[in-house]
């Protein structure tokens, strides 16, 4: 068995809205191997984003624990949480680029708040090149297409060399062709850097490319499928198409 990179144990998170309680995560337990790409699927409101936010320490758990590389994230204090977040790359469905910054500066944004030992500008340029955006460093987000903006967001997520990337519907705002390109890019990055990835998606052709598929329903893990390595995509799609969305 490959090293366990991420472990969730009975992670629970309940929100209150308008007097009602909404369960975002309900005793979720999950082990994720290092370097694996895990697709998180499920219908809207099933808890996909909540799960990613909990793992990324954007949300606090009500109970349970999350351990990353042997460190119990849920037990970290505020300052350590910030340090932890710097080891996690986030990719959002709406890209969330900073509109006032250029492409290059957007990629650099995570490392502006602290010192790094490497040449961050050179690294940002490399990442942009790797993401197919060479020559667009000075472009403003408003001058980029959706796919390009998401590539910038991916480059930004990788600037701090994270071992864990959390992508929340990375292709949700993109057409299928562009979405496929983005997924290829993510897989390529995993290939290149051995990054563990959790990708929340409701698109089967995206989830079919993952190593493992976790389906959530009402905050619980409804299904947890390991997809066969080397299995043709069509067969994988056929295998998971029977699953209820």
């Amino acid at each position: 068995m490959t090293d366990i990179h991420l472990r969730l144990t009975d992670v629970t998170r309940v929100f209150s809205a308008g007097g009602a309680s909404i369960t975002g995560a309900d005793a979720i337990s999950l082990d994720v191997a290092a370097g694996s790409v895990v697709g998180v699927t499920g219908p809207s409101g099933s808890g996909k984003s909540t799960l990613l936010h909990l793992i990324g320490a954007i949300e606090k758990v009500d109970s349970g624990s999350i351990t990353v590389d042997g460190v119990e994230v849920t037990a970290l204090r505020r300052r350590s949480l910030t340090a932890y977040r710097r080891t996690v790359g986030f990719v959002f469905q709406r890209y969330h680029l900073l509109p006032a910054l250029t492409t290059l500066d957007n990629v650099l944004a995570p490392v502006l708040a602290y010192r790094v030992r490497y040449d961050k500008v050179a690294r940002a340029r490399e990442l942009l090149e790797a993401c197919g955006l060479a020559g667009r460093e000075s472009a403003m987000p408003s001058q980029l297409s959706g796919g390009q903006q998401q590539r910038v967001a991916i480059a930004r997520a990788l600037i701090a060399r994270p071992r864990l990337v959390l992508a929340d519907e990375p292709t949700g705002n993109l057409d299928s062709g562009t979405g496929a390109e983005i997924m290829d890019l993510l897989l390529q990055i995993r290939q290149q850097f051995g990054t563990t990835m959790l990708i929340a998606t409701h698109e089967q052709h995206i989830s079919a490319q993952c190593d493992r598929l976790v389906r959530l329903r009402d905050g619980r893990v409804a299904e947890d499928l390991v997809l066969t390595d080397g299995e043709p995509a069509d067969e994988t799609l056929a295998r998971i198409s029977g699953l209820r969305p």
Binding site: F92, H96, L101, D105, P110, A113, S138
Partner: protein
């Protein structure tokens, strides 16, 4: 529409409350402070044309000392201080000295006239008949004054008994040992039934007869005045007289007449007087007065004291007295046969009466009036003044005749009010029996000076050496100038009549602190002469500086002030009534002073204060305009929907304006109520009418602030509203490789909002810089020239309050701008935290944005304030730069307070929700 407006207000109670608070603060401040724009202003009428400046610029006197003639015609009599005794306290002097712009404040306390005993001598050898064995020479003094127009025969005559018979003189008369100049001792002599020690005349038969020392025994004035000299004429023609050192002979026979030398005693501050007129440099003998001349116990040589606890005050004496008075002597010599004829005064008179006399007139004898100590100043002689009899002569009462001539009111002679007994040293001046013009009050055992009973000379000054003396002929209202008047080709001066028309300047000066330390009277100061700093000459700016100081003095002390600058000699014709001693009625020409300007305290609007209060409203408008613009921006989508639903542009604009106006109405009501409450709490007068003014002011502010955003919202096409509502807030690119650079970039994203915050801060900082600059760098006031008019800016407490309120509103505007930035860019802050920024780093970003605006507003505001002050004052003192730096630094530091609200807002951001939002 009202439902829509109310719905919006209810939906965002926090924002509505913030806007309400800003407007309440502004309107309350405005309503309360505007009450203080009405201030007392010293209005100057008349134009200063004479290019003359005396030793001082402002004359401060007690209220009520200004004569009617001065009020109506601006005429001030010479030596006007002579009739003013006290009225100003040491505390009022201290207040004047603390005022900005006061370079020198020199007090003078006129204490009154004292009369010092002196003797005038005359050679009457020619009156002697050398053939007579015994003779009496009657000496009749005649006192002359008013350039010879007044001649007063002394009712008392003096006698010299001259005998060729040998005279044996008593030695050591104070002791009762009976020793005589021939070395023998004798029993006491008996004269008029009283035993004594009298000279003894040796008769032809060798018998001895006492020459009785006759004269008034009980009438103190006559005792002081009456002289009976006993002289022995020896065979060599030498005249022998008894002296304190025993019998001495001289070739000439001299007679000495007692006279009273009047001295006007005043107390001054030696340091201030030295600065004002250079009195220290006019000292020609001895030393100058120290500021703290302590009074010392007074002791006679035998150690006794004239009064229990009597004190002696050190004094500076003038070396000359400008007295117009002489004494002429007439002698009548007659032979007498025996001593019985001269045993008493009646005998003496009888001896002379009815006999053929040799009459001689010795003309004027002037030396008495410049005794040795005055003519040849020598401190060693140490003249002293008995202060126990102080005569205070009041001011003249002068009326203006239809002809324009002035007529002083004649009063009873001063001699009539002389106390019984008078001074035990000096006789009542004969000329005190002349017509008086000043009400004289004799203060025996003066309460004014308490235990101080006499002076001791420490130095002698020459009034002609005073710095201002060079201008005495041209610059009026000087302190040490002798008053003169011309009539019939003669020049008249003061004489020994204390209530005469003309008075003397002060000639005996004490240190004021000596008087104050004695604590005998609370308000001894008669006048304060003030020299104003920065007065270069007679120009509009200098005049304004003087006016401002005069205004401050009047406002803070309640004393009467006069601007001396521009005053000029104004010869007046004075109808002087005839005197009791032959002086005919005269038409005098006297050098009065006409004040160059007349002053009036008026209620005026302090335009500078009104302007500062207006700044509060300006910043409030900026604050509101920013908030309304942000609200419109946030609700573009909503407004677009309304437009799509058929709302007209006017209705949309009305909705935007109405919302703010409703808040303005509420703020106005709250502000008016708060103004009334504050007024009651701080004991300020806030009439209901002015408090009610808060309502239209607040609504007006709201409407003004809403105009532009409402117009923008109304004129846009619904589609553009929808488009803009969904568009990202753009940026301008540039390198943002640090948090600070990102902050600057963020500020450029909404330059209008940044400018509003910076401008609000600029206005507040500029006001504060100006106020602090006036207080610190210009010592409380700036006087300068603005568009050709001299203006002065003086900071009052309300001005400070106004600029502080303005600055607070400026900081509130900054806080609101930052708060809006945080709330409108909340998703960006959420992203930053999601990608690894700590909350601290995000706060730094917000802080940098705030500090950048703070720096921009504070530094530019400080520069504007400093530039305005320097421009107005036409100078840039070093302190001004420090002031600007300090205020700018303070304002920047104060911006940290404005960071609290946005920082708290940032901490409360629902990051997860924001990131998940579509």
């Amino acid at each position: 529409m009202l439902r829509v407006i109310l719905s919006h207000l209810r939906r965002r109670p926090g924002r509505a409350s913030a806007l309400l608070l800003g407007m309440v603060v502004a309107t309350t401040g405005f309503a309360v402070l505007t009450g203080s724009t009405a201030t007392s202003r010293l209005q100057v009428t008349g134009t200063v044309e004479r290019n003359s400046r005396g030793a001082y610029d402002v004359l401060v006197r007690p209220q009520g000392t200004v004569t009617e003639l001065e009020r109506s015609r601006g005429l001030v009599q010479p030596n006007f201080l002579g009739g003013q005794y006290g009225g100003i306290t040491a505390a009022q002097l201290a207040t004047v000295r603390q005022l900005a712009g006061v370079e020198v404040a020199a007090p003078i306390a006129m204490l009154g006239q004292v009369f010092n005993p002196a003797w005038t001598g005359a050679d009457i050898t020619a009156a002697v008949d050398p053939t007579l064995t015994r003779q009496i020479i009657e000496v009749s003094p005649r006192w002359r004054a008013d350039a010879g127009l007044s001649n007063a025969d002394d009712s008392l005559v003096d006698y010299v008994y001259l005998t060729k018979r040998p005279v044996i003189w008593p030695v050591g008369r104070s002791s009762r040992d009976g020793a005589y100049s021939d070395g023998k001792t004798r029993p006491l002599t008996t004269c008029d039934g009283a035993q004594g020690r009298d000279p003894i005349e040796v008769q032809e038969d060798g018998s001895e007869s006492p020459i009785c020392l006759t004269g008034p025994k009980h009438d103190s004035q006559e005792r002081l005045r009456f002289i009976y000299a006993i002289v022995h004429l020896d065979g060599d023609g030498r005249f022998w007289q008894d002296t304190i050192d025993g019998p001495r002979s001289q070739e000439r026979l001299r007679v000495f007449i007692p006279v009273s030398i009047p001295q006007l005693v005043a107390a001054i501050d030696p340091q201030a007087e030295a600065r004002l007129v250079g009195l220290d440099r006019a000292v020609i003998d001895g030393r100058y007065l120290n500021p703290d001349e302590p009074a010392e116990p007074m002791r006679y040589s035998d150690g006794s004291s004239p009064v229990d606890g009597a004190m002696l005050a050190n004094a500076l004496y003038a070396n000359r007295l400008p007295l117009d008075e002489q004494v002429a002597l007439q002698t009548r010599g007659v032979a007498v046969t025996g001593l019985a004829e001269v045993a008493d005064r009646a005998g003496l008179a009888a001896a002379v009466a009815g006999k053929t006399a040799i009459v001689r007139d010795y003309g004027e004898v002037t030396e008495a009036y410049t005794p040795a100590v005055w003519a040849t100043p020598a401190v060693d002689l140490n003249p002293w003044s008995d202060l126990r009899l102080l005569m205070q002569s009041g001011p003249l009462t002068v009326t203006e005749l239809p002809s324009g001539e002035l007529a002083p009111q004649a009063l009873a002679p001063a001699a009539n009010s002389w106390p019984e007994g008078g001074s035990w040293l000096a006789p009542v001046p004969v000329l005190a029996g002349d017509v008086g013009f000043r009400k004289s009050v004799v203060d025996l055992r003066s309460a004014l000076l308490g235990k101080i009973v006499a002076t001791r000379t420490v130095g002698v000054f020459d009034p002609t050496k005073l710095a201002a003396d060079a201008n005495l002929g041209r610059v009026p209202l000087e302190t040490y100038r002798a008053a003169t008047a011309a009539a019939q080709g003669r020049t008249l001066s003061a004489n020994t009549n204390p209530s005469g028309y003309l008075t003397m300047p002060p000639s005996v000066l004490l240190a004021l602190d000596t008087i104050l330390a004695n604590d005998a009277v609370a308000d001894p100061i008669s006048a304060i002469r003030v020299r104003v700093a920065g007065v270069a000459g007679v120009d509009p700016v200098s005049n304004e500086r003087v006016r401002l100081v005069a205004e401050q003095i009047a406002a803070q002390t309640g004393l009467a002030v006069d601007i001396v600058v521009g005053s000029s000699p104004a010869p007046q014709r004075v109808r002087l009534p005839g005197g009791n001693f032959g002086r005919p009625p005269l038409l005098l020409t006297e050098e009065w002073t006409r004040k160059g300007v007349s002053l009036a305290i008026i209620e005026a609007v302090d335009r500078k204060s009104a302007m500062l209060f207006g700044l509060i409203l300006v910043v409030c408008v900026l604050f509101l305009a920013n908030a309304v613009t942000a609200a419109v921006s946030e609700r573009r989508r909503e407004l677009a929907i309304l437009a799509c639903l058929g709302w007209s542009p006017g209705r949309i604009a009305a909705a935007v304006t109405g919302e703010v106006s409703l808040l303005g109405l509420l703020a106005g009501v709250c502000g008016g109520g708060a103004a009334l409450g504050l007024g009651a709490l701080l004991d300020l007068e806030v009439p209901f009418g002015r408090a009610a003014l808060a309502v239209p002011v607040a609504v007006g502010l709201a409407v003004i602030a809403a105009l532009v955003p409402a117009w923008q919202a109304a004129r846009a096409h619904p589609r553009s509203l929808l488009e803009r509502a969904t568009a990202d807030v753009g940026g301008r690119g540039g390198r943002h490789r640090s948090i600070a650079a990102m902050a600057l970039g963020n500020l450029r994203r909404n330059p209008a909002r940044t400018a509003v915050a910076a401008l609000a801060l600029l206005v507040g900082t500029a006001g504060l810089t100006g106020v602090v600059a006036v207080n610190r760098a210009f010592h409380g006031s700036i006087t300068g020239s603005l568009l050709g008019d001299a203006v002065s800016v003086q900071v009052r407490a309300v001005d400070t309050v106004a600029v502080v309120v303005t600055l607070l509103l400026g900081l509130g505007t900054l806080a609101d701008v930052l708060y809006l930035n945080v709330t409108q860019r909340s998703s960006e802050f959420a992203v930053l935290q999601a990608i690894g920024w700590s909350a601290g780093s995000v706060n730094r970003l917000i802080a940098y944005e705030g500090l950048a605006i703070g720096l921009l507003g504070a530094v530019s505001g400080a520069l504007v304030g400093v530039a305005a002050a320097a421009w107005l004052a036409r100078e840039t003192p070093g302190a001004l730069l420090w002031v600007s730096a300090a205020v700018a630094l303070t304002a920047v530091m104060a911006t940290t307070a404005a960071l609290v609200a946005p920082a708290l807002a940032q901490r409360r951001l629902p990051i997860s929700t924001l990131l998940a939002q579509e």
